[in-house]
């Protein structure tokens, strides 16, 4: 909860005693007490609006005075009595609805919303089937001028929910009311085709079928589809999606706004809502394949599994178990990753399991553990909307954690959340925050920003240093390490005035519930570990030295990047961050996997659902490694560049075909359920691991998903009580020893400048894509078809580059050609390129460079 405490008021609803926090509107208070009031334009995520006039209730004040008020704007008060469906309120509410029905087409049998339509429900509730007025329907054609969202405005009742969701939830304002009176209608500026973030939240909130999802061929009555709630398989935010399917075919995804369902309140982003095109897709791997001298031949599952196990056994016998190595999947479920490490540790006898995130940044898990050791356990992310201040550190929220952005925006409206955005790019984040501090620092100075803020907190006495000193033994060490971060030095390094940094520090250090959201961009700063440590120190300072709370989460990229580590797919920990037993020895080839593949130490590599050839930052080295390793198994949904290098390929399933759980970046363990059966010959990763164990001759005793969950609950203490995940519980860090301490690092700045390479490359996921697998979702390539670089207009002018020109980007390793747009979001001296296009191999440009990559650009004729 926010540090601002709201009083509770007592009142009565329809004769029953009730209570709610001060300021709650009557309609919401009623809902919380199980009383539904008719309405069409109320949504608890949005500011009260009172457009539809169908939620009138009868309120008697404490002195008996009667008032008829709109329950969506009228707050509860001490001692009032509320009556929600008297003859009088029904008459008023009904009359307003009756007028809406004069215009509404009533084409329910062909409407996408039919069956889940608030207009139908309210018509039914108020028994308005016999209208008194002459019907006057609008008959405008539907507008399909954008690829995803159909506007059929004859059904629009002008409730304004889409307009408000677009503005308040998404911060975009792509839609608005135009004209007035009889002519008023919603629309885009000048009726241009919709060009927005395509979150589709307007579809979710629309109480009629005026806005519809065109991403699926199968359209029609919502009531005819089978639905199941599951967790999105894209980013690490962990949104609940409602999957609709018909005859075993997934047709569309919608948001489920049921209060308490998941962590996202029904909000989704473009990827989560429209990215279902990867499920039923022609390009999926259709059968197990074995590589015979360069050509893949379709084989039976039995043959493929036997080939793998024969090879595993031979390798173990000849070279020892530690030469058998596995890379777990950041998109596999917890149960699958658990079985994967179990297969390696218990059956093969090898501790050599890892994951790509851990290979690049093993310090992320250590950072998380250190937070716990300092007593910083972090609140559930469902509380984000109640926070007082959010520090968004090097994350472009609308692209990276779009639904996180939705919660922050809600906080700015309902909890007065202050927003501090620290980013080397001038990222766009529009919200209604009263205090919106932008720290637009120089690329590579992340650490200085965090450390200067820490020093201001101490120097200005914003935190109670006596308390901090008492709680943390190496306080003096921190003071020493912060000495170089003077106002002048910080300004020199970051380009930020000390005035704005002080403002940020004051806001962050004040009594507050704070959240720090960190972006994956810090890994490209060359100081990932140091940045995390600096932010940890900052958190420790306010944790002990200021009132309120602090929540900080390690940056994670994919839907189960947290879970793959929790489940022990790292050579450093058993599941649950428990120590690895001594019997595995100290030989750790997976610790430097690429080197040990290339030098021949690793003889067998099994990659579960990852495409490192495209996604791993050492582009050239990973290719060499995979080329050299004597035997490579890849299980995946699509024929990735990694799969093409394999000896055996196993066709796996997408997230919509499997059961289990994902753990999001804020540690919420959430249930994944299948919407359809595995397509074609594909099998779930769970089945594949079970088969491997069977053929290895040591079958898992109980291998159903529920059995594995039982085993996890028993052997992984932090997961006890979280599974099967239907309640979206955040796992609690019980059992981590308390060991308070700052992590100090020497001051340094990434200044590597290469002769002749004047620019720096900045890159992350595109707003409509993540990894390379969204490229198979047609809806997403429709809205985000091309890899387009971004260049600052001033740089462009100097180089004679215009908007839309093609440019060549070269590092000393590789070159790519892309079109460019000019944008002031991108700082001078940098080029931003989204990393999701297979043809534009940014990891070859980077090729192992830890910090910002030096590049040069030139215009192509």
């Amino acid at each position: 909860m926010s540090t601002v405490v709201r009083k509770t008021v007592n009142f009565k609803i329809n004769g029953k005693d009730a209570s709610a926090p001060e300021g709650t509107v009557i309609i919401e208070a009623a809902k919380q007490h199980g009383v539904e009031v008719t309405n069409l334009c109320y949504n608890r995520k949005l500011k009260p609006f009172a457009a539809c006039r169908t939620c009138m209730v009868d309120v008697r004040s404490a002195d008996g005075k009667k008032e008829l008020v709109y329950s969506c704007t009228h707050p509860v008060a001490e001692g009032i009595e509320v009556f929600t469906d008297t003859e009088e309120t029904d008459r008023y509410n009904g009359a307003c609805l009756e007028m809406l029905l004069v215009e509404h087409p009533l084409d329910c049998p062909i409407c996408d919303k039919s069956g889940v339509c608030p207009l139908q429900d309210n018509t039914e509730a108020l028994q308005m089937s016999n209208g008194r007025f002459e019907i006057q329907r609008r008959n405008e054609p539907s507008d399909k001028s954008n690829p995803l969202i159909e506007f059929y405005l004859n059904r629009c009742i002008l409730c304004g929910l889409c307009v408000r969701a677009c503005d308040e939830i998404q911060g975009v304002q792509a839609l608005d009311f135009h004209q007035r009176g009889m002519k008023s209608m919603i629309g885009t500026a000048n009726q241009e085709p919709l060009d927005c973030e395509f979150c589709g939240n307007c579809i979710t909130v629309c109480p009629t079928g005026a806005l519809m999802d065109m991403s699926s061929q199968e359209r029609g009555l919502a009531a005819l589809f089978k639905t199941n709630n599951s967790i999105c398989g894209y980013c690490s935010w962990g949104c609940t999606v409602q999957m609709e399917s018909k005859k075993n075919k997934v047709t569309r995804f919608v948001g489920d706004e049921t209060p308490g369902e998941g962590i996202n309140e029904g909000n989704l982003c473009s990827k989560g809502r429209f990215g279902h095109g990867i499920i039923h897709n022609e390009n999926r791997i259709k059968s197990p394949l074995i590589n015979f001298g360069g050509t893949f031949k379709e084989v039976s599952w039995d043959e493929a599994i036997k080939t793998i196990i024969d090879r595993v056994q031979a390798t173990i016998n000849r070279n020892g178990p530690e030469t058998v190595v596995g890379i777990g999947g950041e998109k596999l479920t917890n149960e699958e990753n658990f079985l994967f490490q179990k297969l390696f540790r218990e059956l093969y006898g090898s501790n050599q399991v890892t994951n790509l995130a851990n290979m690049r940044a093993p310090y992320v898990n250590q950072f998380m553990v250190r937070c716990f050791e300092n007593g910083i356990n972090s609140k559930p992310v469902t509380e984000l909307e109640n926070s007082d201040v959010v520090l968004v550190f090097n994350s472009d929220l609308p692209s990276e954690y779009p639904v996180g952005g939705n919660s922050v925006r809600k906080g700015t409206i309902f909890s007065g959340t202050d927003v501090i955005i620290a980013n080397p790019r001038k990222v766009v984040f529009k919200s209604e925050s009263n205090i919106d501090i932008r720290l637009n620092y120089s690329l590579g100075s992340d650490m200085t920003v965090a450390n200067r803020i820490a020093r201001i907190l101490i120097d200005e006495g914003i935190v109670n240093t006596a308390n901090v000193k008492l709680a943390v033994p190496n306080y003096d060490e921190l003071i020493q390490s912060l000495a170089p971060y003077t106002a002048e030095a910080a300004q020199q390094a970051t380009g930020l005035s000390d005035e704005v940094l002080t403002r940020a520090a004051k806001r962050f250090g004040r009594t507050a519930d704070r959240y720090i959201l960190i972006g994956n961009d810090i890994f490209d700063s060359g100081q990932g570990e140091d940045v995390l440590n600096a932010l940890l120190n900052l958190s420790i300072l306010v944790h002990h030295g200021a009132e309120g709370s602090v929540s900080i989460f390690p940056p994670r990229e994919h839907c189960n990047s947290q879970g793959v580590n929790d489940m022990g797919c790292t050579p450093d920990f058993l599941p649950g961050y428990q120590p690895v037993p001594d019997h595995f020895g100290t030989n750790n080839p997976a610790g430097d996997l690429l080197e040990n593949c290339t030098n021949g130490t690793i003889k067998f590599l099994h990659i579960a659902g990852e495409d490192p050839v495209h996604s791993y930052y050492k582009g050239e080295k990973i290719k060499n490694a995979l080329n050299t390793v004597p035997f490579l198994v890849v299980q995946d949904v699509y024929m990735t560049d990694t799969a093409k290098m394999a000896d055996v390929i196993l066709p796996a399933t997408t997230y919509a075909e499997k059961e289990g759980s994902f753990t999001n970046m804020t540690r919420h363990v959430q249930k994944v359920t299948p919407a359809t059966l595995p397509q074609g010959q594909s099998r779930t990763d769970h089945d594949i691991f079970t088969q491997l164990a069977n053929v290895f001759g040591k079958p898992f005793p109980n291998s159903a998903v529920s059995d594995v969950q039982d085993e996890i609950s028993k052997t992984v203490p932090i997961y006890n009580g979280t599974l099967p995940g239907s309640k979206s519980v955040q796992w609690a860090p019980d059992g981590f020893k308390q060991n308070p301490g700052f992590r100090v690092t020497e001051a340094r700045q990434e200044t590597s400048q290469k002769e002749g390479f004047a620019f720096k490359l900045v890159s992350n996921n595109h707003m409509f894509h993540i990894g390379s697998y969204t490229q198979y979702a047609k809806a997403l390539t429709d809205i985000g078809p091309d890899c387009v670089a971004e260049l600052n207009p001033e740089d462009a002018r100097a180089l004679g580059i215009g908007d839309g020109d093609r440019i060549m980007i070269e590092s000393d390793m590789h070159r790519v050609e892309v079109p460019v747009i000019l944008s002031t979001v991108t700082a001078k001296g940098t080029v931003y390129v989204p990393k999701n296009w297979v043809a534009v191999q940014l990891n070859l440009l980077r090729n192992g460079e830890e910090g910002p990559v030096s590049i040069k650009i030139s215009k192509l004729g």
Binding site: D167, V172, Q173, A174, L175, D176, F177, H178, Q179, R180, G187, T188, A189, N190, K430
Partner: protein
């Protein structure tokens, strides 16, 4: 291509400075552009939105609510002819039809020489002098056909 002149930029800075939040300056800025160009083009809406951190859709929604903002090029003189109750009872409809015929344009249209634009307008708060019309910023009351002739003929 729509651009603000350096003189506009100065004005805008002054106007925006008057308000605690930027978006409050939307109506004055729309007025500024309309007085300069006679109408507000889609490009102008975008430019104004850019100044105030508002989307073009939002700017258009505010602008389209007010009938006195024009979205198409207008003539040198904009005639707003009141047709609300007092003026109407005193013959505004006939006088509007007369004016329309005299100028050879429909209501809403602009003369070929770009001199006059004629609009029907809601109450302009001059009921005691109805029927009335407004030509640019000047109110003309107690109209008759003769008076209209005189007014229009006198405009260069």
């Amino acid at each position: 291509m729509f651009t603000f002149t350096p003189e506009d930029e100065k004005q805008i800075e002054k106007i925006v400075g008057k308000y605690p939040v930027k978006r409050s300056a939307l109506l004055p800025l729309l007025t500024l552009v309309q007085r300069r160009d006679g109408y507000i083009s889609p490009e102008a809406m975008k430019a104004i939105g850019g100044k105030l951190e508002l989307s073009p859709a939002y700017v258009q929604s505010v602008m389209s609510f007010y009938t006195m903002y024009h979205t198409h090029p207008t003539g040198k003189y904009i005639i707003l002819f009141c047709h609300n109750i007092s003026c109407q009872l005193n013959g505004a409809d006939d006088l509007l039809a007369y004016t329309s015929k005299k100028l050879g344009i429909d209501v809403g249209g602009t003369t070929k020489d770009k001199k006059f634009t004629l609009h029907r307008e809601e109450c302009l708060a001059a009921c005691s002098g109805g029927p009335m019309m407004r030509v640019n910023d000047v109110f003309h009351e107690n109209l008759t056909t003769a008076k209209i002739d005189k007014i229009l003929d006198s405009l260069a």
